[in-house]
Symmetry: C2
Subunit: 143 residues, 2 copies
DNA sequence: GATTTTAATTTGTATATACAAATATAATTT
DNA sequence: AAATTATATTTGTATATACAAATTAAAATC
């Protein structure tokens, strides 16, 4: 396959950031297949297990995803009986079910496997540096 | 809003690369609104204008998108009468229409505006460095 | 205490993207 | 030349995500 640096738009941040995200998404999806979840659902579930009763707003801020997206992700976890919602007034609390909690060790394993997979390709040093660089830059977005 | 670095997963390359891509996607979409195209469609159209008759396979490699995705993007540009396809055997050639070609200066303007928008937020130095870093890392993906 | 404003969440809808399968053609082998 | 294999493209289908609007409740103001 063509390298990214051979592309016309290899100096365009739109193109490169999206292409990178897609490539990483693929590897992550592979790692998360063992628990039959997409990476987004997996990370969301781990947050919910880590803080039972957490509210969609907090999840949205944590994951930098829109509230409506969080609702949709939760709906799917609910369908799979991994979480439940309780509604109190305008607030919603999300809790892991026993089935969800049981999954925790396997979720952690997915994270570990994912790390092994991508660092085998990208290198531990380089990918750690990239993450730091991305984080530093992304912090500049205020809204 | 919470900073990316305050998130639980700020050291996870899956999370950070996707979050960055989404943030940049937003800014890009804004810039491309003037021509009523999504950034993907805009960059695709520019490639087609630049190399009339280019085939889906080449576009796929250039943009690091799946062939089926290219088909879908082309379909939309076709609907808008910005490109046409000719079919020769198993190959397809994609050409800009006059209407498509006319758009070229405005497309370039979108690219320029996008650059101004994001570099105002991220800084020219830092974002250039990030792009180089991303490209270097992404080059390690062979498939 | 009634009214207005703000906030949290969900719903309706649209979109970009991918995977797997289908199609059709070209290239290779026998 | 026929049969097989490989290649380019499209189609069917699924999915994550977002935006805008709707809903509902809480908070603030009058």
């Amino acid at each position: 396959m063509k390298k990214l640096s051979d592309s016309h738009y290899c100096q365009c941040i739109y193109f490169t950031s999206n292409a990178l995200a897609r490539k990483i998404e693929r590897i992550a999806s592979q790692s998360w297949k063992k628990v039959n979840l997409s990476p987004s659902h997996g990370y969301l579930l781990m947050l919910i297990i880590n803080e039972p009763g957490i509210q969609p707003m907090a999840l949205s801020e944590e994951l930098h995803l829109e509230p409506s997206t969080i609702t949709r992700l939760i709906e799917k976890l609910e369908l799979k009986k991994l979480v439940v919602r309780t509604f109190e007034g305008k607030l919603t609390n999300v809790y892991p079910t026993p089935k969800g909690k049981e999954l925790n060790p396997r979720l952690k394993q997915c994270v570990a496997d994912f790390y092994e997979s991508y660092s085998a390709i990208l290198g531990k040093e380089d990918s750690a540096r990239l993450v730091r660089n991305i984080t530093k830059i992304a912090d500049k977005f205020v809204h």
